[in-house]
């Protein structure tokens, strides 16, 4: 059934007109920022981080630019949901499957097929909306966004236009310690549900293109941020925090490389003090968080060039692609006119109605979110570095929490996890779920060292075996006879042996070469197979060495 429509430009919804049948046409530019002209950035600790950033970017001349210009950054993120089936049909979705195998008449857009919403999509949308502190629209709807493209089988994308399921939220995060640290809060304009398009590939030789519709119809959540970010570091960390969040919630695996997390950056600059926003440029094709940061830095420099020469009106409002190889943004072929998506309510789908009970039940089922974990860890007295490390991966955090639950000391557990355990995982490219060490054994290990049963050095050795092969601390201590020697008499015996075996060095020591203490200590350790208690060892050794002089 063809629909007649008058021209309507695509706009970010600024107001919702009361009459249901009529949309007003606004001469609007794509502008999620126009709503936010009066938005105050809620950043704190700003001066400190600016100073740190300037040291990082000295060679790019960026700090000079940043003294004169303010950068306004907003990010649109698409999150591919990890539901078992697509949004509107029962097809499964498996990344990497043979092309055009997960298809059916609905997602292929064949005539007569009708969409039926996957209830999990709403559940995930509500979860994410709540986690982003948004207001939920208890009543929302789907709309058709119409355009023609080979990877869009129906000729329209089912999305949400003027009544998204969630809006007006915020996200809290901490900037990495090595990049200046600091707490930030960025606003979230909206979160809405929509479906993904298929994949378009270009053939060798360039005679034609190829379409794979496996991905068509996969559910997405689009998250639009307020233009609150002010530099590449903040933008990259925003992306990272969204990734952390969707993984914590279990709504997506958030892989930028796989395309299950896609970020498009909108950036403009303006001379400091100017109230008007500069021309906004969109950047696409960002495949990692570091690309986000570098693309923004590049674009700031590029736009500042125009401004500094008084040519700011020559900055084209356009979409640019980030060229990872050349490390620069490049123009996509310019569009002739603004896209006219002719949005209208999707007639084949009913209203999405959420009850308070439903929302409450989902809110109650939310896990501890990254921000809450970070604040809890901070209160334990852990360093910021440890806090950020432990809270970054929910599985690592769970491991840490389980270890604490067995009675281990927080700082010691954190050190082990951040140190030897993390090193192992990095070397072997293993995740925390792969290693054989269990939280209870880690707690046992910490306790054994604390109680003096084994030395710290032995502990490290056992740890490696526990991680790689599993087993229990007690078992290993017994099997390898690793109990620390704490009997002074026994240590004395070994020291006597060592001193007797090395008369020349003893002479030298008593002649003034006190550094040789280390040599003797090492020899005693070797004799004792590493089991001598280091503190006692050195105490008795010193006594013996200094006794006869």
């Amino acid at each position: 059934m063809a629909s007649l429509l008058y021209r309507g430009l695509q706009i970010r919804p600024l107001l919702i007109y009361p009459s249901p049948l009529l949309f007003t046409k606004k001469a609007g530019v794509f502008c999620c920022t126009s709503k936010c002209l009066q938005t105050q950035s809620l950043t704190q600790d700003k001066p400190q981080s600016q100073a740190k950033i300037s040291t990082r970017n000295q060679d790019k001349g960026l700090d000079k630019i940043l003294q004169h210009y303010e950068t306004i950054i907003g990010i649109e993120t698409h999150v591919q949901l990890s539901t078992l089936t697509k949004a509107f049909c029962g097809c499964a979705y498996n990344y990497g499957a043979q092309p055009n195998t997960n298809i059916c008449p609905v997602c292929m857009g064949l005539p007569g097929a009708l969409p039926v919403l996957n209830s999990k999509v709403i559940e995930f949308a509500v979860k994410l909306g709540l986690a982003l502190n948004c207001k939920l629209s208890l009543n929302s709807k789907f709309d058709r966004k119409q355009y023609f493209y080979p990877d869009l089988p129906k000729g329209y994308q089912i999305s949400q236009f003027d009544i998204p399921i969630a809006s007006n939220g915020y996200i809290d995060l901490d900037l990495p310690v090595e990049l200046g640290g600091g707490h930030r809060r960025f606003g979230i304009t909206r979160v809405h549900m929509e479906e993904d398009a298929g994949k378009l590939l270009h053939s060798e030789g360039g005679s034609h293109s190829e379409v794979d519709l496996n991905r068509a119809g996969v559910p997405l959540l689009e998250i639009v941020s307020e233009p609150d970010m002010r530099n590449g570091i903040e933008a990259a960390e925003y992306g990272a925090e969204l990734q952390r969040l969707v993984r914590y919630l279990g709504v997506s695996n958030g892989n930028m490389q796989e395309g299950s997390l896609r970020c498009d950056v909108n950036i403009s600059i303006r001379p400091i003090g100017q109230s008007e926003f500069g021309t906004k440029v969109e950047i696409k094709n960002l495949n990692s968080f570091s690309s986000i940061s570098r693309a923004i830095d590049y674009e700031i420099v590029r736009q500042a060039e125009f401004h500094s020469q008084g040519l700011s009106d020559q900055i084209v409002q356009e979409t640019r692609l980030w060229d990872e190889g050349a490390q620069k943004t490049v123009t996509m072929r310019k569009k002739e006119a603004l896209s006219d998506y002719r949005y209208f309510p999707e007639p084949d789908l009913p209203e999405v109605i959420l009850t308070e009970e439903y929302v409450a039940s989902i809110r109650d089922s939310l896990p501890e979110l990254p921000e809450m974990k970070r604040r809890r860890y901070e209160q334990m007295g852990l360093s910021m570095q440890a806090v950020l490390f432990l809270a970054n991966d929910v599985n690592v955090a769970d491991f840490f929490d389980s270890t604490l639950a067995k009675g281990a000391d927080a700082k010691l557990a954190a050190n082990w996890i951040m140190g030897d355990i993390a090193a192992y995982m990095k070397n072997e490219k293993a995740s925390v779920s792969d290693i054989k060490l269990t939280p209870s054994e880690l707690a046992e290990l910490i306790d054994s060292i604390k109680s003096g049963m084994i030395s710290g050095k032995i502990g490290k050795e056992i740890l490696f075996e526990l991680i790689a092969k599993g087993g229990t601390v007690k078992g290993l201590i017994k099997a390898k006879n690793l109990v620390q020697i704490t009997d002074p008499a026994e240590i004395e015996k070994i020291i006597d042996n060592v001193l007797a075996a090395n008369p020349k060095q003893v002479e030298q020591y008593r002649g003034g070469k006190t550094k040789l203490q280390g040599f003797f200590a090492g020899q005693v350790m070797k004799e004792s197979k590493g089991k001598a208690n280091p503190g006692l060892l050195n105490k008795i050794l010193l006594e013996k060495l200094n006794a006869k002089s």
Partner: protein, 140 residues
């Protein structure tokens, strides 16, 4: 030509004040000639349709003659729907959708479509395993 149900208005459109008491039925509005209508219009509330642009956005090719012919017809249909403007909505809570059926959901359980071969067979230019399309350079 099938007709959709959506009407967009230019911002600040003048509302109809008096509509004709005669009811236009769907079929007659189609063949009805403009000059015979009795509807009083304060001013032209609707832009004449830009048929050329409409056709382009819908990817439908029209001859220049068809473009000229369709303009007034489309205008008529829109104005016929425009009678709704006369309804007083001041005390009506806006509805998001007009259906009464309510929720219709699916469980998140995979189901393989049983006749993929028929789908593939229906694709005019299929080069295993992809759908072959003309070279695409850029969106729209």
């Amino acid at each position: 030509m099938a007709i959709g149900t959506l009407i967009t208005l230019r911002a600040g459109a003048t509302l109809w004040t008096r509509s004709s008491s005669r009811t236009l039925n769907f079929a007659s509005s189609f063949v009805h000639r403009r000059d015979k209508r009795n509807i009083s219009i304060k001013s032209s509330s609707f832009d004449p349709p830009d048929v050329g642009r409409l056709a382009e956005t819908a990817r439908i090719s029209l001859t220049p003659q068809e473009v000229e012919e369709f303009g007034p017809k489309i205008q008529q249909v829109v104005e016929w729907f425009g009678q709704l403007q006369a309804v007083d909505l001041d005390s009506v809570e806006p509805a998001i959708r007009s259906d009464i059926d309510g929720d219709n959901f699916r469980e998140d359980v995979p189901r393989t479509f049983g006749n993929r071969e028929a789908i593939i067979a229906g694709i005019p230019s299929y080069e295993e395993p992809y759908i072959k399309v003309p070279k695409v350079l850029n969106k729209e």
